[in-house]
Amino acid sequence: MEMDAVSQPELERIQRAGGADLVVGILDADHDGEPGAAVAMVREALAALCADLNRVARAVVLCNNGTQSPAAAPEAGSGGQPLTVFSYTLTAPGPAESPQRGISDAYRSVFGAAGKLEVRACGVIASHLAAVTPQWIYRLIQPALELDFDLVAPRYTRHKLEGLLNRSVLAPLHRALYGMQLQNPAGPDFGLSGKFLQRTLGPELGSLRGYERDPMASIAPTAASGGFRVCETHLGARSQPPTDWMNLSSLLATVLGPAFVEMERQAAFWQRIRGSSAVPAFGYPETASEDAGAMDVRRMLESFQLGTQGLRDVWGLILPPTTLLELRKLSRLPPDQFRMRDDLWVRIVYDFALGHRLRTISRDHLLRSITPLYLGWIASYALEMESAGPAEIEARIELLAKAYEVGKPYLVSRWRWPDRFNP
């Protein structure tokens, strides 16, 4: 559902002033500091852009908890080029809305405003503002403005225990399906060109029984399937909120659900893709600071073992008997020998994606029941990478990504002929 963050009279006022070149959305609603700090950061980034490109004159900033200053006065950019910034506040999410839903609506608001203003580029920052700098905004927008890239995806500096769902599912799945190697296909920070923005706002391609597209899940696949130019940009370290272990299943449901729905939408495209290729990357990778200690995996192993016993009937509706047998054997191994093979994990993800498509059981139940398996993967990864350095971790993740590509024929055959095998 798109919300009008910028009212019609304000849109007309901006258009009378000559339109806008950029829209920047700052979606983090929990930032500390003064209300106008986010807007000030955007102004600093835009001033640098203005100086470099000499073509950016007017920008619209949409903030969560930002200040509302519709009558923003023109400011001088650092190169003397006048820079006008209009800033508005995004509509706050309702009390009953989940945080994920709130972010999706905020994305739609930013894209909607950018589409109406027919801007040349749009940047969205959804990460926690504690780690965001003006350079982030510059690096997300500059390739779209100057180098004719349509989608600028982020590349973060990560510790070995960060971005685990991304490393284990989202990134390698996107790579195997769409042939594009992105570290973070689901963002959450993106830069988009005006041309690509109009495509994301276009009519729904092959609507799936009323399911609304989630912007974060659909941006990268849409760029891949539409033949748009995609690049990555190094942004540095992100600030991550602490993991809420009690709501991990909700997180998995809200993240994996839209990814599987998008997979269903783009099925005609990804079934033809073989292999993958890297995309151009800009900026300089930073080395992660030292990791903060080892991980206690006992609870995760207990969850995995409990899931193997308690959820075998549910998993039996989704996974083939060979996979169930392997999981049962795995649950009996002592912690020092607990290793989940890549091909096993890949088949589990593919089978769950297929089960999601076929609605073998309620989709919410299906997504939540993957929680013990995911915890088992984390435990296996943490035990294997306990004393590994950054290079070894990247090599390990690369192996997992290759396993997704090698296992793709399994997915394609089951996707095309689901009745040939039915657990």
Partner: protein, 234 residues
């Protein structure tokens, strides 16, 4: 005297024959109704069989929460079970219509009361089916939620919820069928209350230490995890 005996026997025979003759039209109507209902049942069964085969009813019935249908269906085919049930229902209705043609007060009243009872039977079947689906859905929700919360008695909780809903549905179905009356209400109350009490005792008293350990583990691990494990998922 023998003439009188013979006359009495003749009169009885005549009465009997005339009674039988008066039943003939009803018998013909009954046979005709049976033949028509058999024909209608055959046509209806063919239509239903084709429709159910098209939607793959045999496979979907297991997914919808009725795996036992395949076990007690002829040739393990729920489609065949449904088809035969519909066919025999139509034949039975035809038989009852044919019976009512005898124009005997007792049979007519019986048929009328039977037809008046049919909506109750249908409502009971719907309540049982809905109850089965709801029970299965809720049981699975509780099972997955409890496993994700690391509760060791997840299967017990799930079974308890399933039986609670099933007992409720059966009691409601029997209420619709007007079977048992007060005895069923009393039995339902005792059974339902017993299940709830058993679950409460299992969770509250019998597994006190287990729950306490589970909760301590959850609280301790949540706080300690936040301090010691810099895990991010996205």
């Amino acid at each position: 005297m023998w003439d009188q005996v013979g006359q009495a026997l003749n009169q009885s025979m005549n009465r009997m024959l005339s009674e039988m003759a008066s039943l003939l039209p009803g018998a013909v109507a009954l046979i005709a109704a049976l033949l028509v209902s058999i024909l209608v049942a055959w046509v209806l069964a063919a239509i239903v069989r084709r429709s159910l085969t098209k939607i793959d009813f045999d496979r979907r019935s297991a997914q919808w929460g009725f795996p036992a249908l395949a076990e007690w269906a002829p040739a393990k085919s729920p489609t065949r079970l449904a088809t035969r049930a519909i066919a025999w229902t139509v034949v039975l209705i035809g038989f009852l219509i044919g019976i009512s043609a005898f124009d005997v007060a007792l049979t007519s009243q019986f048929v009328i009361r039977l037809f008046a009872y049919l909506p109750n039977v249908l409502a009971a079947v719907v309540v049982l089916a809905a109850g089965s689906i709801v029970a299965r859905f809720l049981a699975r929700s509780v099972l997955i939620g409890a496993v994700n919360m690391n509760l060791q008695y997840a299967r017990l909780l799930s079974a308890g919820v399933k039986w609670l809903v099933t007992v409720l549905a059966v009691a409601m179905a029997l209420e619709h069928l007007s079977i048992g009356g007060g005895i069923i209400r009393l039995a339902f109350g005792i059974l339902f209350g017993g299940i709830v009490l058993a679950l409460a005792l299992a969770v509250g008293l019998g597994s006190k230490e287990l729950v306490s350990r589970s909760l301590d583990r959850e609280v301790g691990k949540t706080s300690s995890l936040n301090m010691r494990e810099p895990v991010g998922h996205l």
